[in-house]
């Protein structure tokens, strides 16, 4: 190391040079998934792939009304030839096909909505944390207001007011969940804002945007990513509960939530294994959301995160 030859103990300096400063930093930790986490990844990837290619691998069109009887049991033959591998739904449509098509709707919408929620929530949250004062006050109050109202009520109000279309649904979910994202983002923002490296950036005279995007955000990224997973799950469930009120994805588009809702009656009416009609989409939802949670569990375990403390909402 040092090659300086001045200083109180020059000679010791030279023959000591074999003794390097020891590396006291802990060995770098990389995210390591447990086997459950790995399963989660596989399932999520599977559904994402389906979301992309679903319509092409699906045996029938999502809107195809194939025969005269609703709620045919899995494996039933179709009049025109072919088989309902998972049975048919109330409108005599092929459930397998609709589950496959539905992936695009459900996964797609929830992902986009969550992304938007993050765009809004994080920007506002960090801004509030950075700017403080009135900005913070106003943003926080509006946010409280949104948080204090039941999501389903807000959803109802917005969707009824603007009519249920996919963009509207996405927007609604985004706005509603942006408010909880805001809380977390703000909390992390405030925490990171007091860090010395942020201060030194300020001392350097950096702009607020640099501080938000280069200093603060990267450090909040990991925990926020974890929360992103959970938020995604909430959005999926939110949209399906909207479809409970008949405001979810509109026919003939298939989305898992409204498929469960629409075929719920099968558990009551249908004969034989036709009663499984609502189970398939429910399974799809469950597998997707559980998978995400499995990953999230691993990640948050890794990032050790005080996440839970902030992830309240």
């Amino acid at each position: 190391m040092s090659d300086v030859t001045q200083g109180a103990d020059a000679e010791t300096d030279q023959d000591m040079s074999i003794y390097d400063e020891l590396h006291d930093a802990p060995p770098k930790k990389r995210l390591k998934l447990s086997w459950t986490g790995k399963i989660g990844v596989v399932i999520v990837i599977f559904w994402i792939v389906i979301a992309v290619i679903g319509p092409w691998v699906a045996p029938y069109d999502q809107a195809a009304i194939l025969d005269m009887d609703s709620y045919l049991p899995p494996g039933a033959e179709i009049d025109g030839g072919g088989t309902h591998w998972l049975g048919s739904d109330k409108n005599e449509r092929d459930i397998l096909s609709r589950v496959l098509w539905g992936a695009r709707m459900t996964v797609g919408i929830s992902v986009i909505a969550t992304l938007m929620a993050y765009l809004m929530g994080v920007t506002a949250g960090i801004a509030a944390a950075v700017k403080r004062g009135w900005t913070d006050m106003i943003l926080s109050r509006i946010n409280d207001a949104i948080l204090s109202l039941p999501t389903i009520m807000l959803g109802l109000l917005i969707v009824v007011a603007l009519g249920s279309s996919i963009p509207i649904l996405i927007g609604t979910a985004a706005i509603i969940y942006a408010s909880s994202v805001y809380r977390i983002a703000r909390a992390y923002g405030q925490e990171i804002m007091v860090m010395d490296y942020v201060e030194s950036a300020q001392a350097r005279g950096e702009t607020i945007w640099w501080i938000i995007f280069r200093e603060v955000l990267p450090n909040a990224a990991m925990p926020l990513a974890t929360d992103f997973g959970l938020r995604l799950v909430f959005v999926v469930l939110f949209i399906s509960s909207l479809s409970f009120l008949g405001l979810g994805i509109q026919p003939p588009n298939a989305d898992w939530g409204s498929m469960v809702r629409g075929n719920l009656e099968a558990m009551q009416f249908a004969e034989g294994w036709g009663i499984l009609a609502p189970i398939w989409p429910a399974l799809a939802i469950a597998s997707f959301t559980i998978a995400i949670n499995l990953i999230v569990d691993d990640v948050s375990a890794e990032s050790g995160g005080d996440l839970a403390k902030k992830m309240i909402s």
């Binding site: 109050r141 207001a145 204090s148 109802l156 469930l237």
Partner: protein, 315 residues
């Protein structure tokens, strides 16, 4: 500490006001108005006009809003634009129902979930933990109307053990009352507990990597005591907060359960209010929900303060 609480209360009022404006604007953005909704298909221009005149819907919106605000402040919730009944009479019993249900669910689910959460945290990786984690995961991962309907079909239609709808009335015997409430309560407990168990567990495990826990280990403290005495007390804050939010949900968000079990509660009333464009009714409900939320959050904060010596008794 008082300062903090007072500040929170003031903020609460601001929030309430923001909500009232928000809801007012939104309800007015809805297509169609009370008259059209109530008179429905058979509405004629004349009857619509007459109806609006009768209910004072022909006045300008701002006028309506401030009128409402004024009455609200003087404790008068106003008259339902739809039915013509006083809103307090509409809300009265339903508020009671909602509170009763929320109360009971809370009494069951809070201790249950905190207990189970602690247990899961106490034996991480064991089959108890695994099954709890996965079970709760599964439960929060399916739409609750699915769970509810499923249980109805099993317990009411198939087995016929419990009534499928929660039709509660004054003259009911305690036994009947509990029977008819059993299933909605069960569903809600499941839904709410699942969330809280996970949060409790997460909260505990988060403090487990702090130095004072290691110290406790090095003092030879049993894991059980470490969790219950050392970790839990430092997690109370967040846990209470989760509980508060879940209770708020129980008061305002259980519309699905109320619908499926035909239980006359506030959430359903609010939805009806929206669907009939009954502005004062929606406003009243929104106010109640918001107030509940605010109060619960303040309570949670206070609890957190009390649980934290730093805040409780400063130097």
């Amino acid at each position: 500490m008082q300062r903090m609480v007072i500040q929170r209360i003031l903020i609460g009022f601001v929030t309430l006001w923001v909500v009232s404006v928000l809801v007012f604007l939104m309800t007015n953005a809805l297509p169609g108005d009370v008259a059209q909704i109530v008179l429905g298909q058979s509405a004629t221009p004349e009857s619509l006009a007459a109806y609006r005149a009768e209910r004072g819907l022909d006045q300008p919106l701002l006028f309506q809003y401030f009128g409402w605000l004024g009455n609200m402040l003087s404790g008068d919730l106003g008259i339902s634009k739809a039915g013509g009944a006083t809103i307090s009479s509409l809300i009265g019993e339903r508020l009671k129902n909602t509170m009763v249900m929320a109360g009971i669910v809370a009494l069951i689910s809070v201790p249950l979930s905190v207990g189970l959460g602690l247990m899961a945290a106490m034996y991480p990786g064991t089959w108890i933990d695994k099954s709890l984690t996965f079970g709760t995961l599964a439960l929060i991962s399916v739409p609750e109307f699915f769970i509810a309907t499923f249980m109805v079909l099993i317990f009411a239609v198939q087995l016929g053990w419990l009534p499928s709808v929660a039709r509660v009335s004054a003259e009911q015997s305690y036994y009947d009352w509990w029977r008819s409430m059993a299933m909605p309560l069960l569903v809600l407990v499941i839904v709410v507990a699942a969330q809280m168990i996970r949060m409790t567990r997460a909260g505990i495990l988060n403090v487990m990597n702090s130095p004072y826990i290691e110290m406790a280990i090095l003092k030879g403290v049993r894991r059980k005591r470490i969790i219950l005495r050392h970790a839990f007390f430092n997690t109370i804050g967040p846990i209470v907060n989760v509980i508060a939010l879940n209770l708020a949900y129980l008061v305002s968000g259980v519309v699905i359960v109320e619908t499926i079990f035909a239980y006359p509660g506030l959430a359903k009333l609010m939805i009806d209010g929206v669907q009939t464009r009954d502005l004062p009714l929606v406003q009243a409900c929104a106010m109640i929900f918001c107030a509940t939320y605010v109060v619960l959050i303040i309570l949670a904060d206070v609890a957190a303060i009390l649980a934290n010596p730093r805040l409780r008794n400063p130097k």
